[in-house]
Assembly symmetry: C2
Homo-oligomer: 367 residues x 2
């Protein structure tokens, strides 16, 4: 049994339940822009050692919470743990991003690939439980995974890519081979996220970093369909609590209606999508998360406040908005800056939840 | 006086005049995927020498026309000729993309920057005239420029960027400095494109490669507004012929309505935007250019044909569609492959212009 949750704004907003103000967290909030993170990483040796040791993972997960009034913590891990557990041999070269010792290019490569076993990802489950305990109910813990399409891009390209020519070549030439790869990944991701939920994750996010490089029909066939399968297979209530799901496709702003019909509780938006239009398009179907340009954090306090105000006003009145950046925080941001953003969200957000606050006050007076 | 234009399908489609079939060209059609291009480049010494010598520029511009039934030629040049003419010191490092010796970061940097003089870009004008003469009226010649925002990203970042933190930092911190830079660039681009038109360009395209990294309001303020200024200042009729303008913002699919109101004749679309939806959204305001995924060229002939058919059917009946890739052709494409795409466009495109063809037949019978 874990300690009771004290700040549940994030979970409530995802479920469109009344909140006192808009909750906020930042993608990649535990990361290189924090000197304490860089120290932990140096101490651990390298990035993967940081991910694979639950004490280190816990340490860096909690670091941003010491600095800022964040409404959620997110598991510190890498999106490529699943391909690594499938035997692809994940490694990092300085300044080069992730690489794999094996690449997947042929039918035989895909056939030889096992479903990732949660047992082989035990270090992640351990980290989730360690962090959840360390949080002591302060804020909820988010678990996460890469989407099947996004994981497949790294596995087929052998690392990061600009043109995605190998995986798209496969998609156009031998779609059935790619579907088989994505099928295996969808099962692996479902098991992985359910493992995280059982280990203590109170919400989960699927990061579809590269779905936006596809055409609309190909996005639906090769990315969205598999995210739907995962969502269908997820544990949605655990220990008597709803476990909300967030789906985030970077550069997916043209397909919000399709994404909103996937069964997800919330959609993450990048900053290219207008928040007011997005809300009008998805209606009451899903909550929205986002979506300020991470580069706003290079500006002065007043500009940050104005830009926060615009995003909040874009969503407007009522619950169903989790404030976030439209993508991960940059490594070059001065760690003093996010404070202005986070405090502005809470302060300026309250006006959009007035009715809810009045109700909460009444309930408190009844106590 | 230049020779009369024999194949005017491309110009007619941009002006939404009847055509016998859908015209097609490919962004970056003169480029590294062609062995004859690589030979010319080796002969010239390097990429910039290729651009700066009108005989070489003409040679490589015509190369793809020898292989494929293209309906337009595009000036071979670099988008960064303008910042180079402003004294930024453009150079290329192998495998690293473009770099500048000077970067623009401060108000003083911007104030010191001259408007680019067409005289300093005489090598481009000379190339345009040489190519136009060499084409002998076979197909029209497209001139082009980068958009002010896109040029500014390279000038402020000092080269290519993934996060655009310097220019966006400037945009959020000191928007007036960035506006002054963009103002100077808009004047420079207008003069540059008008110079190309006078030298022989029969249509012009503005490449806004990086407009799509902005939020909607910032796109309108920092990219679209300056492209509008350019379009307002362009020569639209030259030697008695209309000179159509194409505006292409990569990843701009969420803002088509705004772009269509800019005064442009046509919008270029990348492959993430659905052609049928795009046509429905812009109505009769502009022609559309695009938008097959360049990765389709890695597939087999039949798949290429199917995918071409889908894009053509997406646009549907009538004139106003110029077929193109959604972005530049990749350097790894087998040069045999584009033939399948181009021939499929002409063959499958004809059915969407049946009425026009009947009219053209009647006119021919009257002769």
């Amino acid at each position: 049994m874990f300690p009771e949750l004290k700040n549940d704004r994030f979970i409530r907003a995802l479920l469109k339940q009344p909140v006192d103000t808009t909750p906020v967290w930042m993608m990649r909030q535990a990361g290189r822009y924090l000197p304490e993170y860089r120290a932990s990483r140096a101490h651990a040796g390298d990035f993967l050692s940081l991910c694979k040791n639950d004490e280190f993972a816990c340490e860096v997960t909690l670091q941003p919470l010491e600095r800022y009034e964040l409404d959620a913590a997110i598991l510190f891990s890498d999106i490529l743990t699943i391909p690594d557990a499938m035997g692809q041999g994940l490694y990092f070269e300085t300044g080069e991003g992730p690489k794999f010792k094996k690449v997947i290019r042929t039918e035989a490569d895909v056939d030889a690939l096992p479903i990732a076993k949660v047992n082989d990802l035990d270090y992640v489950m351990k980290a989730v439980t360690t962090i959840r305990n360390a949080l002591g109910g302060r804020v909820p813990l988010i678990g996460f995974s890469g989407s099947p399409w996004t994981l497949a891009t790294y596995m087929v390209e052998g690392g990061s890519s600009k043109d995605f020519r190998h995986i798209k070549g496969m998609m156009y030439k031998s779609p059935e081979i790619l579907h088989e790869l994505l099928r295996k990944l969808a099962i692996s991701v479902t098991d992985y996220l359910n493992g995280q939920i059982k280990a203590g994750a109170q919400a989960v996010q699927i990061f579809d970093t590269w779905g936006g490089v596809l055409s609309g029909p190909k996005y639906q066939e090769f990315s969205l369909m598999y995210m739907k399968q995962i969502i269908d297979g997820l544990i949605r209530v655990h220990d008597g609590k709803k476990i909300p799901v967030i789906m985030f496709t970077k550069n997916g702003g043209q397909w919000l209606e399709n994404m909103a019909a996937s069964g997800t509780d919330a959609l993450g938006l990048d900053w290219t999508t207008d928040m007011a239009e997005a809300r009008a398009r998805v209606g009451n179907k899903v909550a929205l998360q986002g979506n300020i340009d991470p580069c706003v954090l290079y500006a002065d306090k007043d500009v940050i406040r104005d830009q926060v105000g615009e995003v909040l006003a874009g969503f407007g009145n009522g619950s169903g908005h989790v404030f976030n950046l439209g993508h991960g925080i940059h490594q070059f941001v001065d760690p003093e800056q996010p404070k202005y953003l986070i405090d502005a969200v809470h302060e300026l957000g309250a006006q959009y939840h007035q009715e809810a606050s009045d109700q909460l006050d009444k309930l408190n007076n009844l106590d």
